[in-house]
């Protein structure tokens, strides 16, 4: 299949690689030295997003933030200027759910289909093709894209209509951030009150306090091992999305707002490139 792939960062590079290895014909934009091996492996470098869109049937985006997606889709020489009706745009970036619905409507007005399909699992998951993929869009379009998703991830769910993938991703990032803060406060309390955090963590794993975060991030906090994993800088961006949407939707997310502030503090302390378990050092 002819697939465009725009956004060759630490996540996008291994994802595109998996698609090449599956025998697809890839069209890339902004090929830098770090992604030159993809062209050597048979992919075609294009001069613009528009050229990618003209060459491919399905165009995948994996970009940092909402504005980047908007620019690549609707900016000068953007994807939409190159598409014909019937093409499919899949946005695998983590961006605003509300903007996603608007982008999908604008794409639909050009006769094209749209899926939002943000992922979780980080660099490790991208490399191992074990990403969790949360998809929003029409069921028949989801089925068209499913073989591609299966090359990049494992836990693949159609959440609902367009935008619902992004909503699930934001919900995921809220839970993970607040669970990290829960474990941070509990371990800070344990240490400050004079008990052994490793013993307490183990005892708590047997009851209602059990979580993946207590298991994985709790251990990182106790051992002070903060190589990412998932960087505070990126999680901070995801909570910014949550709070921006919450403002527009008039939703009250008090603990998300506090953790966003604590992440501001962590960034100010130079912890942005550390694993999000290092949030314990914001206390």
């Amino acid at each position: 299949m002819k697939i465009g792939f725009i956004g060759l960062g630490v996540m996008g590079r291994p994802m595109a690689q998996h698609l090449i290895e599956a025998g697809h014909e890839l069209y890339l934009h902004r090929v830098k030295p770090a992604s030159a091996h993809l062209v050597e492996g048979g992919a075609t470098a294009c001069a613009s997003a528009s050229e990618v869109a003209r060459s491919a049937d399905i165009i995948i985006l994996m970009l940092p933030d909402t504005q980047d997606v908007e620019q690549v889709l609707f900016g000068e020489d953007g994807v939409v200027s190159g598409v014909e009706p019937g093409k499919l745009i899949i946005d695998m970036s983590s961006i605003s759910p509300l903007a996603t619905k608007e982008f999908a409507a604008r794409v639909a007005s050009r006769g094209c289909d749209y899926l939002d399909a943000p992922v979780s699992g980080g660099e490790v998951g991208a490399q191992a093709a074990s990403l969790t993929i949360m998809v929003g869009g029409k069921p028949e379009i989801f089925e068209r894209a499913r073989p591609l998703f299966e090359r990049m991830g494992k836990n693949i769910t159609l959440i609902g209509g367009v935008g619902d993938g992004q909503i699930a991703k934001v919900a995921n990032q809220i839970v993970v951030a607040l669970n990290i803060q829960a474990v941070s406060e509990a371990l800070r309390f344990t240490i400050g009150a004079g008990a052994d955090p490793a013993v307490v963590r183990k005892a708590l794993m047997g009851g209602f306090a059990a979580s993946r975060v207590l298991e994985v991030h709790g251990e990182r906090m106790i051992n002070e091992t903060f190589e990412p994993g998932f960087r505070i800088r990126l999680h901070h961006k995801d909570l910014s999305l949550a709070l921006e949407s919450a403002r527009l939707l008039q939703l009250m997310l008090p603990n998300t707002a506090i953790v966003h502030q604590l992440m501001n503090g962590a960034l100010a302390k130079g912890l942005g490139e550390k694993d999000h378990a290092a949030l314990i050092h914001a206390l």
Copy 2:
């Protein structure tokens, strides 16, 4: 073995019952109609805590709060006025870790041993003898009490020295409360943004957002089934303990403080006797 049991509430009654069924000779204080069946089952009703302490070798307390334990131990006709050296006091209430260390020291000055052994698992766990028991005290004293704990619970851990059981219990209640708030904010966001919370919850269970709270309390929130379970009123008390200790220890617990405030709001709305999953209605 001759065992005193003081505190025959919804937790204490089934716990005492298990000890009677194990063949122990029980001495009780303040036997009300709800606990009359224990006396019919062979336990002895005593006129004071002091009389309980004189009659038994091990005295177990299962009381609502720090002041209740202080009153029963050191008040008029209290436990300490009736003990002789060599007796063992086990406080299974959930109370202040700092006060616990002081109580244990005062008890030790009378030549008696002390364990703090708070539990989690609620009424269901007390009835099923499946409580999680977090113990603080000397290892040899823990071993002396272990056969009794094994009649009341399953996941039994010696956390460390005196007070460390209470520290673990507070840490547990912080994590559970903050995980409930995490799921509350994520589901409120999901619903407010227009996606299906049941589908999102299921998708999130496959990744780093997975927790016992997302599984159990998340389902209660979605189905609006708030029969306790564990009551907001009691969880509110436990966070009060956490924040009181944090104040004395100069520890910063911002999200615990916010959830405590939200529980104030839930109590004001008359939700105190609902399961703590009903915290979603404080948003």
